[in-house]
Amino acid sequence: MNVISLSDMTVFYGPVRGVSGVSLTVGEGEIVALIGAIGAGRSTVLKAISGLVKPREGELVFRGDDLRRIAPATRVRRGLVQVPEGRRIFPSLTVRENLELAGFGVGGGRAQRRERLQAVLERFPLLGDHLPRLAGMLSGGEQQVLAIARGMMAEPKLLMVDEPSLGLAPQMVESVYDLLVQIASEGTAVLLVEQNVTLAFEITNRAYVLQQGEVVLSGPSSELADDPRVVAAYLGRAAASPAAGS
């Protein structure tokens, strides 16, 4: 069953077109990649799903509900969670507060929050040492991890992650990707925006390629990885992935 499905969605920023006529679906337990060049509109798709921008046209259906009638905050409470571009952690809250707030926002009780926090910390022991510290003081990579951990606190049904590998050490990239694979296997739908396309194709089932705000290609990742157009535009001769060299 599709967790999210967009059909013919068009978003404008004032007079500027962000994306147009985008249709895509993510099913339960599926990991889907959204790739494209800078400014292609990937983040715009995520923002529209979260409700941070209002689509001008098109339908958005989340688990059978018409999203357009649902306020952004409510969407999150129903399990539609985004780890946004640029981390957007709360720098002047402690790491613990950052995490707890995510649990609070989705209506978790105190006990539930604690339990959830425990689980997240097990996954990212790195954060455990830093709980009482202000999030803004963390290193860049640590902040990125916090942002992802915060997304996990919200118990997503659909998790959208925007460039999660940015600033992460190779080993940490692995943990994060392992996590995505794991939660997908538990039934969560994952929509992944990733600059590092090679890396993305390693874990995703399907992918959509955005160009200038429009979906120009889509299909199973394994097929796309061999598509000459994709290779030329995104994988390139240099093979941007650290993995490719070995």
Binding site: A71, T74, V81, R88, I89, L93, E97, E100, G105, M137
Partner: protein, 303 residues
């Protein structure tokens, strides 16, 4: 200079400080969440005073205090102050949510003009100094040969209780954490599943309500109200909020008390004309030593 001379000054400062603290806490919260120097905040206080004047006037016969009346009128005034603040936020500040802080501040000045001159243009209020409908009794107690009334004591106690309540909400509940989160990143807070508009409204409501409470207490204590009563106390409250550390409830409260005491002691030491200078001198010194106010501000910023 002896203790007997300074002690009454300190106590006197506490009374002024209690009002300042109440207003400053609201100021500080609004400031904290929108980074807005809300010049209209003092006028929320003023407008609330007029509301309480009208309501209390309508239910009071003579000038004898009926404490039951005062209490419910107080509650009504707090709600009125809160609602006024929320309305201003909705109508003016919210449409400007992407504007520069300075532009917001100027809009706040506009609101302040509207509120003040609005009251000025209401015929039966106008520019008059209106005597408050009730006068509290003057019985009380004496310390160091200075007489204090029970009303004064009660006012301070209520102020402290209100501030503690707000302190608890802001610092010990997730709602308070959410307020601080909104201040830092609104869109990200939405992504946590939190309705940020509602949080901002709540902050304005609390700020307005505290100003309302201060209005009733100050009107009882000073006995008269006027359409300009809010501006200068608002400015002092703003100063107190900064002195305490922007966004910090406890800081604002302590800042308010401190400013009250400084002005009062400064008057005692140097005469009233130099009290303000003394208070600001102390402010500069404080900020020199602690650049983010008494209780500091948690700033999570690094390079």
């Amino acid at each position: 200079m002896s203790w007997n001379v300074v002690f009454p000054d300190i106590v006197a400062g506490l009374f002024l400080g209690a009002f300042l603290a109440l207003i400053a806490v609201g100021y500080s919260m609004v400031y904290g969440i929108l980074r807005l120097i809300n010049f209209a905040h003092g006028d929320f206080y003023m407008a609330a005073a007029f509301v309480s004047y009208a309501v209390l006037g309508a239910v009071t016969v003579g000038t004898k205090v009926n404490w039951g009346n005062v209490i419910w009128v107080g509650l009504v005034t707090m709600i009125a102050g809160g609602v006024l603040a929320v309305c201003v936020e909705r109508l003016v500040y919210r449409p400007m949510s992407r504007a520069a802080i300075l532009s917001l501040m100027i809009a706040a000045l506009g609101v302040s003009q509207i509120l003040e001159n609005g009251v000025l243009n209401i015929p039966s209020w106008g520019s008059n100094y209106l005597p408050y409908p009730v006068t509290p009794p003057s019985n009380g107690f004496s310390v160091a040969s200075v007489h204090y009334t029970w009303t004064q004591l009660g006012i301070v106690v209520i102020a402290v209780v209100l501030i503690l309540a707000v302190y608890w909400i802001v610092n010990h509940t997730m709602l308070g954490t959410a307020m601080r989160a909104v201040a830092q990143d609104r869109a990200a807070t939405t992504l946590m599943g939190i309705n940020t508009d509602r949080i901002i409204s709540l902050v304005f409501f609390i700020g307005g309500a505290l100003a309302g409470a201060a209005a009733v207490m100050a009107s009882l204590y000073y006995g008269q109200i006027n359409y300009l009563m809010g501006f200068s106390i608002g400015l002092q409250a703003f100063t107190a909020a900064v002195l305490g550390g922007i966004g910090s409830v406890a800081g604002a409260a302590i800042g308010g008390l401190m400013l009250g005491i400084l002005e009062s002691v400064g008057t005692g030491l140097f005469g009233a004309q130099w009290a303000l200078m003394f208070a600001f001198g102390a402010l500069v010194l404080t900020l020199w030593v602690r650049p983010t106010g008494l209780l500091g501000e948690r700033v999570g910023q690094r390079v």
